[in-house]
Symmetry: C2
Subunit: 96 residues, 2 copies
């Protein structure tokens, strides 16, 4: 019985992992679009004010159980990754 | 025109942030349930084999644009956080 509970809970986690991944990919694609628009405008891609606003909004929306400190840690990682991917693309574009 | 594009893309990011947060909260709640089941069974919560399996599955499912290296980085953060939250709860339970 218990083992079945565990299996069921684990498959819930596996399904949630996939959904989170899909959304992070969607987000990355949109951030890439933003990067292109900003590039044409000659604007710097990294915008710490906008990042802080996004974090504050997320913390205000957060219903838990994730504590806000951990939320901030995870999303800073997501934000930074999107930026790193853009920088790699820019570097590759320069090498072509 | 360009500015409107940027606003539209940014609101897409804001919406995706919220959806990602909701799913991470759902995931955290399920992981807490798993922790309770494991606690009753006297099993260690941290399971590096299962973590590796989850990462491998995610990488095989990944359609991009997120590179697998960044995927691993982000999800290791999510996995670690869930574990940290459980440990905090356990510590708090011991203090009661």
């Amino acid at each position: 019985m218990r083992q079945n509970d565990l299996e069921d809970l684990r498959s819930q986690v596996t399904g949630l992992n996939s959904k989170i991944l899909d959304l992070i990919n969607d987000r990355t694609a949109v951030v890439q679009e933003i990067g292109k628009v900003k590039e044409k405008q000659g604007v710097n891609r990294y915008d710490p004010v906008r990042e802080r606003e996004m974090l504050d909004l997320l913390k205000s929306e957060n219903k838990g159980p994730l504590p806000n400190g951990v939320l901030e840690q995870i999303f800073k990682g997501i934000f930074m990754s999107a930026l790193e991917i853009q920088e790699d693309e820019q570097r590759n574009a320069l090498l072509v």
